[in-house]
C-alpha cells in the first residue's frame, strides 16, 4: 500500500459534561488509502460518529478536548486553525450525514446550496457554479436535473435528498469522503441505489471513503476494510474477509451472531450479547467489553493492545487477550456466530 491518504494517530476526544468527563474516543488509530472504503462499525454511542466529526474538526468546543493527530497528506488537522479547516472541509474532506431530512437548508433551493459550496472553495462565476450543480445532480441520478436544480429540499423524497447531499459532497472532488450512516434513514430499495452510487464514485474519483454504519449487511456489501468500535476504542480491524470469516474479538462474534439473516431459516433463539454498552463517563477498567464478555478473565482488567495475532494475517488486529487457538475454538459456530465455521476460516 502506498502512503496513506489519511492517517489518524492515537485520537482522543473527550467532552466535559455535568456528570463528568466523557471519553468518547479513546486512542484511535487508523489509515485510509485512496480508492478504499473503510467501514467503521459499532452500536450507538460507541464513538463512531464523534470520530468522523472530529476528523473534520466539527466537535471543537469549549468543553471538548481533542488529542492525537489526524494527518491528511502532510497536514495535521487536529492542530489546524479554524480558517485552515474551512479550506479543507468540503474541498478535501467531505461528509454525508445520516439524516437527509435535516441536513439540507429548507429555505434555499438545492442548486443554490451546492453552488454556495463550490463558490466557497473556487473562484468561479455564479453561472459556472450553477452549471456544475446541474451536472452533479445528473451524475448522482436525479432526473431532469436542469429543472430540479431550482427545487427546494421539501420537494424531494428522502432518497433524492440524500443524492443531493452526495452531489454536494462531491462538488469539489474531495479526496476523502466521510459517510455517516448514509442509508440508515432510507428504505432498502433506495439504500441499494445510494450504495451503488457511492461505489461508482469511489471508482471514478479514486477517493478514500470512510463509511460509518451499524448495518453489517451494508458493510459486507461495500467495504474493503472494517474497523469494529466498542465504547470509544477500536476492538478489531482487518479486511472484510478477515472480520467476517476469522473474527478475533468476542464483541465482533456477538455482533455477527446477532444479525438476523434473510437467507437463513429461523434457527431457534438468536444469539445475543447480554447486557448493554457501558457508560463512557465511567467505563469499566481494562477491556471495555469485559462485563459483557463470556470469556473474560483476570487479565482483562488490563487494556489489551490492538495487535496482530495471526502472523499470516497482515493488517488483522484485535484487542483481546485470548490467544489465537483459544479464539478459534471458543468462537461458537453452531447457533453462535454461524457465519464463520472455524475450518473454513483457516482454509
Amino acid at each position: 500500500m502506498s502512503a496513506p491518504l489519511l492517517s489518524v494517530e492515537d485520537l482522543r476526544v473527550s467532552f466535559r459534561t455535568e456528570e463528568g468527563v466523557l471519553q468518547a474516543v479513546d486512542g484511535l488509530s487508523l489509515e485510509l488509502a485512496a480508492g478504499e472504503i473503510l467501514a467503521i462499525v459499532g452500536e450507538s454511542g460507541c464513538g463512531k460518529s464523534v470520530t468522523a466529526m472530529s476528523l473534520m474538526g466539527l466537535t471543537r468546543g469549549a468543553n471538548t478536548k481533542i488529542e492525537g493527530r489526524v494527518k491528511l497528506g502532510e497536514r495535521d488537522l487536529v492542530g489546524a486553525s479554524e480558517s485552515e479547516l474551512l479550506g479543507v472541509r468540503g474541498a478535501e474532506i467531505a461528509m454525508i450525514f445520516q439524516n437527509p431530512m435535516t441536513s439540507l437548508d429548507p429555505v434555499y433551493r438545492v442548486g443554490e446550496q451546492i453552488a454556495e459550496q463550490i463558490r466557497a472553495h473556487e473562484d468561479v462565476s455564479a453561472e459556472a457554479a450553477r452549471e456544475r450543480s446541474i451536472e452533479l445532480l445528473g451524475r448522482v441520478g436525479i432526473p431532469h436535473a436542469e429543472s430540479r436544480v431550482d427545487a427546494y429540499p421539501h420537494e424531494f423524497s428522502g432518497g433524492m435528498r440524500q443524492r443531493v447531499m452526495i452531489a454536494m459532497a462531491l462538488s469539489c472532488s474531495p479526496r476523502v469522503l466521510i459517510a455517516d450512516e448514509p442509508t440508515t434513514a432510507l428504505d432498502v430499495t433506495i439504500q441499494a441505489q445510494i450504495l451503488e452510487r457511492v461505489m461508482e464514485l469511489r471508482r471514478e474519483e479514486n477517493a478514500g471513503v470512510i463509511l460509518i454504519t451499524h448495518d453489517l449487511g451494508v458493510v459486507a456489501e461495500v467495504a474493503d476494510r472494517v474497523a469494529v468500535m466498542y465504547a470509544g476504542r477500536i476492538v478489531e480491524q482487518g479486511t472484510l474477509d478477515q472480520i467476517f470469516y476469522d473474527p478475533g474479538h468476542p464483541y465482533t462474534w456477538g455482533l455477527l451472531g446477532s444479525v438476523t439473516r434473510l437467507d437463513r431459516d429461523r434457527a431457534g433463539a438468536l444469539p445475543s450479547i447480554a447486557g448493554a454498552p457501558p457508560s463512557l463517563i465511567a467505563p469499566p477498567q481494562g477491556c471495555h467489553f469485559r462485563p459483557r464478555c463470556p470469556h473474560a478473565r483476570g487479565r482483562c482488567e488490563q487494556v489489551p493492545p490492538l495487535e496482530q495475532r495471526d502472523p499470516k494475517a497482515a493488517g488483522h488486529l484485535d484487542r483481546c487477550w485470548l490467544d489465537l487457538e483459544a479464539k478459534r475454538s471458543l468462537r461458537q459456530v453452531e447457533g453462535g456466530i454461524g457465519l464463520a465455521p472455524a475450518a473454513e476460516a483457516q482454509a
Binding site: E43, S157, G159, V219, E221, F244, G254
Partner: protein
C-alpha cells in the same frame, strides 16, 4: 404453529383513506390518500404474521386500523368472530383487553412523567384491578420481560432503549391479550439489543400462546420471527405466503427486488449474488398509478400492467400473489391457480396466463 378452526383475526377488504383538505374558510376535500386500499388477511391462534413494505406503503396504517386506533373507510375487521369495525369506543373496551400494541419508538411511546408502576399498571387499573392487584401483576410481567420488581419506581429516562422497549412490551402484556400488534418493535434498537428483544418476543409467544401481527420494514427481522408474511406496496398486499416459501420462491417482482436489495451480512455470498436495483421512488399514494401499482418501477412490466389491476391469485398452499407476470414458478402451477377471495374488489377477473411467466 397455526391452528385451523376459526381465525383469531379476520380482515376483509379493509380500506383506510385519509382526506386531503384544502381551502381557507371551507375545507374542501380535494383528494384522498389511499393508505390501505382493500386488504384482506387472516391471523390464526399462536401465529405470527409479518407485514413488510417500504415507508409509506400503509403497513402502520393497517396495523392501527386493525386495532381500531384509526377508523376504517370500508371493509371489516373480525376479532374472535366478532365484527369490531363499527363498535363504539365503549364497546371496544373489552376487545382492547385482548388486543394490544407495541410501538416503534421506545423513547416517545412511554410517558416520561410516569413511573414504570403507573405505565404498566395503568391499563390494569383501567380495566378494574385494585392498586395492589395491579402492582402484583406488574411485578410478574416485569420479570417475564427480563426486568425486575426493583424497576417499578423508576422513570423511563432511567432505562436504555432496549429496556424501555421491554417496558413497552410489558405494558402490552399486562392485560393478557390474545393478539399483540407490534409496529416496528426493534427498528430503533441496536443489533445486539434487537436480538435480545426478538428472543424475548419469541419466548413470550411460546409461553403465553400469543398471536403477533409484526409490522417491520426489515425483511431479515420479519423472516426470523414470522410464520407467514404479507408484502405491501402502496396500500395493497402484493404477495402473501408462508415465510420460507416467500423467500424460496417469491412470485411478485416487487418481493424479488425487495429481497435482492437487502444486503447479506456475508461478503462471499454477497459477491455471488445478482442484484436487482429498482429505479425511482414509491409513487405518491394520493395519486397511485392505474392498473398494477408497481408497474412504474417493475422490471418485467408490460402493457397490461398499466391497464388492469391484477387479482391476488392463489398458487396453492396459501401462497397468494397479485401479478400479471408471476416469477419463480412453472407454467403448471400458474395454470392451476385460482382467484383468491382476498383479491381487491377493483381487480381484474382474469388470472395470469401461463405464457406470461419467464
Amino acid at each position: 404453529m397455526s391452528s385451523e378452526p376459526g381465525p383469531l383475526l379476520q380482515v376483509e377488504h379493509l380500506k383506510t383513506y385519509f382526506p386531503i383538505k384544502s381551502g381557507v374558510l371551507i375545507d374542501r376535500e380535494v383528494g384522498r390518500v389511499h393508505a390501505v386500499d382493500d386488504v384482506s388477511f387472516e391471523l390464526g391462534d399462536g401465529e405470527t404474521l409479518g407485514l413488510v413494505g417500504e415507508s409509506g406503503c400503509g403497513k402502520t396504517t393497517l396495523a392501527r386500523t386493525v386495532t381500531r386506533l384509526l377508523q376504517p373507510s370500508g371493509g371489516s375487521v373480525r376479532f374472535q368472530g366478532q365484527d369490531i369495525t363499527e363498535l363504539s369506543q365503549r364497546k371496544l373496551r373489552p376487545v382492547r383487553r385482548e388486543m394490544q400494541m407495541v410501538f416503534q419508538d421506545p423513547f416517545s411511546s412511554l410517558n416520561p412523567r410516569r413511573r414504570v408502576r403507573e405505565i404498566i399498571g395503568g391499563p390494569l387499573r383501567l380495566h378494574g384491578a385494585s392498586s395492589s392487584k395491579a402492582d402484583e401483576r406488574s411485578r410478574e410481567i416485569l420479570e417475564l420481560v427480563g426486568l425486575s420488581g426493583d424497576h417499578m419506581d423508576r422513570y423511563p429516562h432511567e432505562f436504555s432503549g432496549g429496556m424501555r422497549q421491554r417496558i413497552g412490551i410489558a405494558r402490552a402484556l399486562a392485560l393478557s391479550p390474545k393478539l399483540v400488534v407490534l409496529d416496528e418493535p426493534v427498528s430503533a434498537l441496536d443489533v445486539s439489543i434487537q436480538a435480545q428483544i426478538i428472543n424475548l418476543l419469541d419466548s413470550i409467544q411460546d409461553e403465553l400462546g400469543l398471536s403477533y401481527l409484526f409490522v417491520a420494514h426489515d425483511l431479515s427481522v420479519v423472516r426470523h420471527v414470522s410464520d407467514r408474511i404479507a408484502v405491501m406496496y402502496l396500500g395493497k398486499i402484493v404477495e402473501l405466503a408462508a415465510a420460507s416459501e416467500l423467500f424460496e420462491g417469491p412470485i411478485h417482482p416487487y418481493t424479488l427486488s425487495l429481497y435482492s436489495a437487502v444486503p447479506v451480512p456475508d461478503p462471499k455470498e454477497g459477491r455471488a449474488r445478482e442484484r436487482i436495483v429498482l429505479k425511482g421512488d414509491v409513487p405518491n399514494p394520493s395519486d397511485p398509478p392505474a392498473g398494477c401499482r408497481f408497474h412504474t418501477r417493475c422490471p418485467v412490466a408490460t402493457e397490461i400492467c398499466s391497464q388492469e389491476e391484477p387479482p391476488l391469485a392463489d398458487y396453492g398452499g396459501g401462497h397468494l400473489a397479485a401479478c400479471h407476470h408471476p416469477q419463480s414458478i412453472g407454467a403448471a402451477r400458474i395454470k392451476r391457480a385460482s382467484r383468491s377471495p382476498a383479491s381487491p374488489e377493483s381487480s381484474a377477473r382474469r388470472l395470469p396466463a401461463a405464457g406470461g411467466a419467464r
